[in-house]
């Protein structure tokens, strides 16, 4: 089985890039691949706890929790997340905080690495 690393820079609810990344991750996990998700820039805020679901909107917190349970490794960029005022205790359980070196090491060790940039 393969390894997929997805990097995300995009704003969470102002764009549907995170929805795409999570669905791609889910499909890869279901096929037995290992998947890592690197959150950088504004994408780091999607890993914050306490997201409310309004009617039929997305709820990325619930999606992330489900995927973390299925084996998705979610890592927030250290400098990007702290600069945005999100502390460790405010992050969804299971989300880790690491530096860009972690991302580059994992992206280069993966079979496929996709960086989804800002729009």
């Amino acid at each position: 089985m393969g390894a997929l690393t997805i990097g995300l820079l995009t704003r969470p609810y102002g764009s549907k890039n995170i929805a795409f990344a999570l669905r791609l991750a889910k499909a890869a996990l279901e096929k037995g691949h290992s998947v890592k998700l690197w959150l950088s820039g504004d994408a780091t805020t999607v890993a914050k706890k306490g997201q409310h679901k309004y009617q039929k909107s997305f709820n990325f917190e619930a999606e992330l929790k489900e995927l973390i349970e299925k084996g998705l490794e979610v890592v927030n960029c250290e400098s990007c997340v702290y600069i945005r005022g999100i502390n460790d205790e405010e992050m969804i359980d299971g989300v880790q905080v690491k530096t860009m070196t972690w991302f580059m090491e994992n992206a280069l060790s993966s079979d496929v690495a996709l960086m989804i940039g800002e729009e």
């Binding site: 096929k31 079979d111 496929v112 996709l114 960086m115 989804i116 729009e119």
Partner: protein, 98 residues
């Protein structure tokens, strides 16, 4: 190695695609990028469809925008998320997002 290019906008960075595309480039149309598969501007299909050897379009993103699969021309392959995973793992290991 074949290059896979994700295009997520209707009005995408055509200049960059022109510059980097080769015979082996495969394009994945997702989000608003799917309009390039089905919308004709002034009666003409998107020039993107002629630029690269393979074009894939994400089924869910087509349906989300009100297009049926039969609106997709025969030179474009309709795929789901699982298909994209397979194509990345088997064919397009080097991928970029425009």
């Amino acid at each position: 190695m074949k290059l896979g290019v994700f295009i997520s906008d209707f009005k995408y960075d055509a200049e960059l695609l022109d510059r980097i595309a080769s015979d082996e480039t495969g394009v994945f149309l997702v989000h608003d990028g799917v309009y390039n598969a089905v919308v004709k501007e002034n009666g003409k299909p998107s020039p993107l469809l002629e630029k690269v050897s393979k074009v894939f379009v994400l089924k869910d993103d087509l349906k989300l925008r009100g297009f049926a699969e039969d609106a997709v021309p025969s030179n474009v392959e309709v795929v789901d998320y699982g298909d994209i995973v397979d194509k990345l793992m088997e064919e397009y290991r080097k991928v970029i997002w425009l």
